[in-house]
């Protein structure tokens, strides 16, 4: 199994809401995998966010449309009302805006905070646009291109 497959299975399990499987996969992670898992989640979330905030997420698009972001945050608050522990709404806003031209907002957050916020966003987007969840291979293909660009500075190796 390639390391990429591990991350792909991890995010698929998260999208499907199968937290048990995701935890099992995380136990196989090495130290490098743990930090890369956040990047993989971030890439997938960026692709899903493009359906809401426009193309180019993570590739220099921005700034984000503040009215759209406000309505997005209202939706997040409605879907997570009464959740325990309460989600960190500022972290959620930070991960969205970090993909649209304000990457410094991500710097103060730990990996754990980042992945929690990214997961909330990913879950909301895949519920709102169900074809993202049913065609995960397409999403992963584009996310792979995006992450390659982040690492190498160009789309393909």
């Amino acid at each position: 199994m390639k390391p990429e497959d591990l991350h792909r299975d991890h995010v698929s399990a998260l999208v499907a809401g199968d937290l048990e499987t995701a935890a099992t996969i995380r136990r196989q992670f090495s130290a490098n995998d743990r930090s890369f898992a956040v990047d993989y989640l971030r890439g997938t979330t960026a692709i899903c966010l493009e359906y809401r905030f426009g193309p180019g997420a993570g590739l220099g698009a921005g700034p984000v449309d503040h009215d759209e972001l406000a309505s997005f945050m209202t939706e997040v608050r409605e879907t997570t009302r009464g959740a325990e522990p309460p989600p960190d709404y500022l972290a959620i806003e930070a991960v969205v805006r970090s993909l649209y031209g304000e990457p410094h907002l991500l710097e103060p957050l730990t990996d754990h905070q980042r992945s929690q916020a990214l997961y909330s966003v990913l879950l909301l987007q895949t519920r709102r646009f169900p074809w993202l969840a049913t065609n995960l291979d397409h999403t992963f293909g584009r996310a792979k291109l995006l992450i390659t660009t982040w690492i190498l500075g160009r789309p393909t190796a």
């Binding site: 503040h66 406000a70 500022l90 410094h104 907002l105 103060p108």
Partner: protein
């Protein structure tokens, strides 16, 4: 009043660059939330932990206040803030959300034949039909 996005422009990058290197627990988005909470989004104040609020207030004030301001000018600003605070409390006390139900309204008529309706001016559709 400027839109929150404009009001929050200063802390976008400069506050982060200024404070984050010296103090990695500084979160620029919280400073922005502090500004937006007094402009149009009061719920954002709940996102900042209580014990950290004064720190973010000071970091925002340091950006906004001219360092060469005299004591008299500052005292005037403090008086302004005091008045705004009193207005805010007066508004809150008179807010219909806080008044207990029925306390602010005139007492309903107790005469037996008179209907007790909130909008007596509106015709009843059943009667007209």
């Amino acid at each position: 009043m400027p839109p929150p996005a404009c009001a929050a422009t200063p802390p976008k990058r400069c506050l982060h660059d200024k404070h984050f290197i010296a103090n990695p627990s500084f979160i620029a988005l919280r400073a922005e939330a502090m500004i937006r909470s007094v402009c149009q989004e009061p719920t954002l104040i709940l996102e900042i932990p209580n014990n950290e609020q004064p720190g973010y207030i000071w970091s925002v004030l340091c950006e906004l206040i001219d360092p060469s301001a005299t004591d008299a000018a500052l005292a005037e600003r403090f008086d302004e803030a005091e008045r705004a605070h009193l207005d805010l409390i007066a508004d809150a006390v008179e807010s219909p959300l806080l008044t207990p139900r029925g306390a602010g309204r005139p007492a309903p008529s107790t005469q037996p034949g008179e209907p007790v309706t909130a909008e007596p001016a509106l015709p009843n559709p059943k009667e007209t039909a």
